[in-house]
Amino acid sequence: MTYLPLYKDLKAIYNAYIEKNTRSKKRKGENVERVILHSDANCFYASVEMLYHPEYAGKPLAVGGDPEARHGIVLTANYIAKRSGVKTGMALWQAKQVCPDLIFVPPRMDLYLKFSFMLREIYSEYTNQIEPYGCDEAWLDVTGSSSLKGNGRMIAEEISRRVKKELGITVSIGISWNKIFAKLGSDYKKPDAITEFNKANYQDLIWKLPVSDLLYVGRSTNRTLQKYGIRTIGELARTDPDFLELQLGKMGLVIYSFANGWDDSPVSVEGYQAPIKSIGNSTTTPRDLENDQDVQIILMALAESVAARLRKHCFKCNVVSISIRDNGLFHFTRQRKLQEPTDITDEIMSAAYRLFRENYHWPRPIRSLGIRADDLVMGQVPVQLDLFMNEQRREKQEKLDRAVDDIRRRFGYHSVQRAFMYQDKILSSLDAQGSHTVHPVGYFNGR
C-alpha cells in the first residue's frame, strides 16, 4: 500500500524521471534513450534437439517428459508440430492424437543449460547488463555499446547471425526503449526475426495487440479486463488508472504503466541474484501416493532439501507451507507459522506433516507434493527462547543436520539416509535438492 501514492500521477512521475535523466545524460554527451533488447530462443529445447538430430529435419518433433516417470507432457515442440496443433503442456498421448507422426525425444536439461550458457557468452560480448528470464530468454541493455557496435538493430542482427552460425539455433529479438516493449517485440514475430518498437511506431503496432500479450496480464486479469471491454493494449493505455486500481489493485496501475511504455526498470547486471524470499521444493512422485507412509517419505525428502538449502544460505524460516495436487489435478496450499524460526529438518518435516494430516483426508491419491519455507530470517539473528522448548535437543539436531550436510556434500546425497526412507526405495530415490532446478524469476526480480 505504501507504493500507491507514487503511482497517483504515473505519467508526471515518469516524465520527471526521464527529463532528469535526459538532462544529466545530455550534459555528459551520452545517448539519451535506452536501447533494450529482449532475445528469445525459438522453441529452445526442440531447436537444440533438431540440431542434434539432423535425421529428423522436416519432421514434427516434441521434447517430452518421460512417460514412465509420469512427467508425460510436451515441454516444447518444433514449429512443424505446432502447426499440427501440438501445444506446450499437452499430455504426450494428446499430442500423439493431434499429430500422429510426432517424434518424441526425452529432455536433456544438461545440454539445454550448456546452450543457455553459450547464449549468454555471446550476449556478454555486447553488454554486462544481461538479465535472464528463464534459460531461453534474456534482456540486454546495449545502450552503452551502441557507439561501438552500432544501433540496436545492428547489434540485434549481429547477435542473431552469430547464434545461428555458432549454436545452430535461432532467436527472435525485440528492440525498444523499455523492457516490456522489448519483450513484446520478441514475441511479435517468430521465428528468427527482429522487431523494433520505437516511440514513433508503438501506438500503431503495440496498441493493436490483445491485452493478454502484455506481461502480467494472466488469465484472471484478462478476464476482468474483458469484462470492462478492455481488449487491446491501446484500450488499457487509455483507461482511467483510478478505475484500474479499483478493479485490480496495485497491479492495475502497474499494467497501465506497462501499456503506456512507462517502464524504467533497469536490466540487472550479469550475475545479479534477487534476494531470496522463500525456499521451496516440489515434485511429481514416481507413483501416486496412497497412504500416510508414502506421504511421509516424500515429505521427508522435500523437507531435507528445503532445510539443507536454508542452512546453506544461512536462513531460518518462520512459516512452513505445503502444496498438494491429487491425481484429479486438484491443487491447494496450506501454511503454518512456527513457534520459533528454524532450519532443522525434523521441525520442518513435522510441521509439514501436521499440516498435511489436518488438511488432507484422502479423497483421492496424491500426484505431487511440495514444501516451502517462508518468512525467512537470517540464521544468526537472536531469538527469544521458549521456556517449554528443549533447546539442548534442538542444538543437537542442528549439529546432526550439519554433519549430514557435510557427508552428503563429500560423498553424495544417497551416502547417508534415514532408515525410514528404505521402506519404499522407489519413492525415496528422489534427490529433491540435486534435481532442484531454478525456474525463471519474476519480472520484478524480488524488488
Binding site: 540440431l51 542434434y52 539432423p54 535425421e55 553459450m118 545461428k164 555458432e166 549454436l167 545452430g168
Partner: protein, 81 residues
C-alpha cells in the same frame, strides 16, 4: 540415428598457456591422419553432423577439413553421406 557424426580420437598438444592444438586424429577405420596446419578456430554449429563446438579448420594431406571439439569430445562430419 545420425550417421553423419563421427567421433574421433585426437592427439592434442597443450601450450604452456593452456591453448589446445590438435596434432593428429584417428578416423573410425583406424587410419591415423597427421594435421599439417590449423588454419583457424571458431565456435560453429554443424548442421550436417548435428552439434556445436569449437571448429578447428585444419589441413590434412593438402585438403581442408573441420574438427569439432564438442564439450569434451571430438567429432567430424562424414564426407560421403
Amino acid at each position: 540415428m545420425n550417421d553423419n557424426k563421427v567421433y574421433v580420437e585426437v592427439i592434442v598438444k597443450f601450450s604452456t598457456e593452456g591453448a589446445m592444438m590438435p596434432i593428429e586424429f584417428i578416423w573410425e577405420d583406424g587410419t591415423k591422419y597427421l594435421i599439417d596446419k590449423v588454419k583457424s578456430k571458431e565456435r560453429c554449429a554443424s548442421r550436417k553432423a548435428g552439434g556445436t563446438g569449437i571448429m578447428y579448420t585444419v589441413m590434412v594431406d593438402g585438403k581442408e577439413c573441420h574438427l569439432y571439439y564438442e564439450f569434451d569430445k571430438w567429432f567430424m562430419e562424414r564426407k560421403s553421406a
